[in-house]
Amino acid sequence: MSIVWRKLAWLGVLAVTGCAVEKLPPTLVVHHAAATQPQPKRVVVLASECAEAWCQGAGALVAARLAFRGIEVVDFEQLAAGDRVRTVIDIEKSSRSRGNVDLAKQRTVSVVGPRLSDADMWTQREALGRLGIEAIVRVRTAKLNTWPVRALAMIRVTRSADAALVVSSACEAELSRLDSDAEMMDRVIRCALEGIAR
């Protein structure tokens, strides 16, 4: 019994020391274009190309924050790239059992057709000008599986006309193994957003 308790105590010590390793504070690097350049008022946030679940909401988080600051965010996922056909099928079934009437309804809505986010690159490029989109916002995230774990997020705003930099903000943070992936992403994205706000 005492061996078991000793092992548990060692595990406890390991856990406490592991979590207590001092982490570096987040490092933020911000680059601004010349102050004379006007700030974009209408932007598009590119969908973050991320295969893992932990970083898939990064673009939406940044888009929400930019919209809160009064920047108009155009969502290519919400705009049609051509004709879209909508079909609605309603089915109602009623049945009677022991004097009671059971009514079941089913509605199936099918929409077929591309959104702007599904369009080819030339159509998307043409849409930037047609919709008056002044800048493109790109969000990138990455995780470095070292000890301690590091998470990185970068928000980069470039002019849609010539790809010139408006602002870029990158944040790198060391994290505890006890942090969940969602907490990790949230922390570095918020850190990178602070750089955009300046």
Partner: protein, 202 residues
């Protein structure tokens, strides 16, 4: 880390980024699949290629270095067809809703031969193309060795503008790949924007 040519001011701004390709030198081709390095794939799920570990980090560092990237694998040559279906089942006080979205597979810029890729990139106003290759080989000590090489070329004259190479002894698929991506990314930063080197060096 090897850098060449000199870390002079590089004129490129917007460039085409190709995904990392893997080459197993003197080893079976399956060595280019991260899953081949783990026994229990359920406990340690792995992506299909090493590019999933390398490209997010490397591209972030390239953009931090001042380059604007167009990711080749996201540039569709044709518009994809989308089909959305929402079904609502209403049975008394309970309503259930299910939604499915199907998107057709369409070719991207990667489907084109290199020459046509460069022509399309030029037509879009891009000035360069960056490619990375992961080489896996058996080191002299008998241990696996991973090497990541980046090449940045100008589209105007197809000349190499920057070449960065890092090598590491194999530790684990995820760790070795991300360490190499970080190293090569830092090499680009050292050449183009040394003030933007962030974080503690590995």
């Amino acid at each position: 880390m090897n850098l060449s040519p000199s870390a002079a001011a590089l004129p490129l701004n917007a460039i085409l980024a190709l995904p990392t390709v893997c080459k197993a030198q003197g080893l079976e081709a399956s060595r280019c699949t991260p899953a081949s390095y783990v026994n229990d794939q359920k406990a340690w799920p792995m992506p299909a290629t090493f590019a999933a570990f390398i490209d997010p980090l490397l591209r972030m560092k390239l953009e931090l270095a001042g380059l604007t990237l167009a990711d080749a694998e996201t540039m569709r040559l044709e518009t994809a067809q989308r089909s959305e279906r929402t079904t609502t089942n209403d049975r008394g006080p309970v309503a259930e809703r299910t939604k499915t979205v199907e998107l057709s597979e369409v070719p991207t810029l990667l489907a084109l031969p290199p020459r046509e890729q460069r022509a399309v990139a030029s037509s879009l106003g891009l000035q360069g193309v960056v490619s990375t290759a992961l080489h896996i080989k058996m080191g002299s000590s008998g241990a696996l060795s991973f090497e990541l090489a980046l090449e940045l070329r100008s589209l105007a004259d197809d000349q190499v503008v920057l070449r960065v190479r890092c090598a590491e002894r194999y530790e684990s698929p995820r760790e070795t790949a991300t360490i190499l991506a970080n190293c090569v990314g830092d090499g680009v930063l050292a050449a183009r924007a040394p003030d933007a080197l962030v974080g503690r060096q590995l």
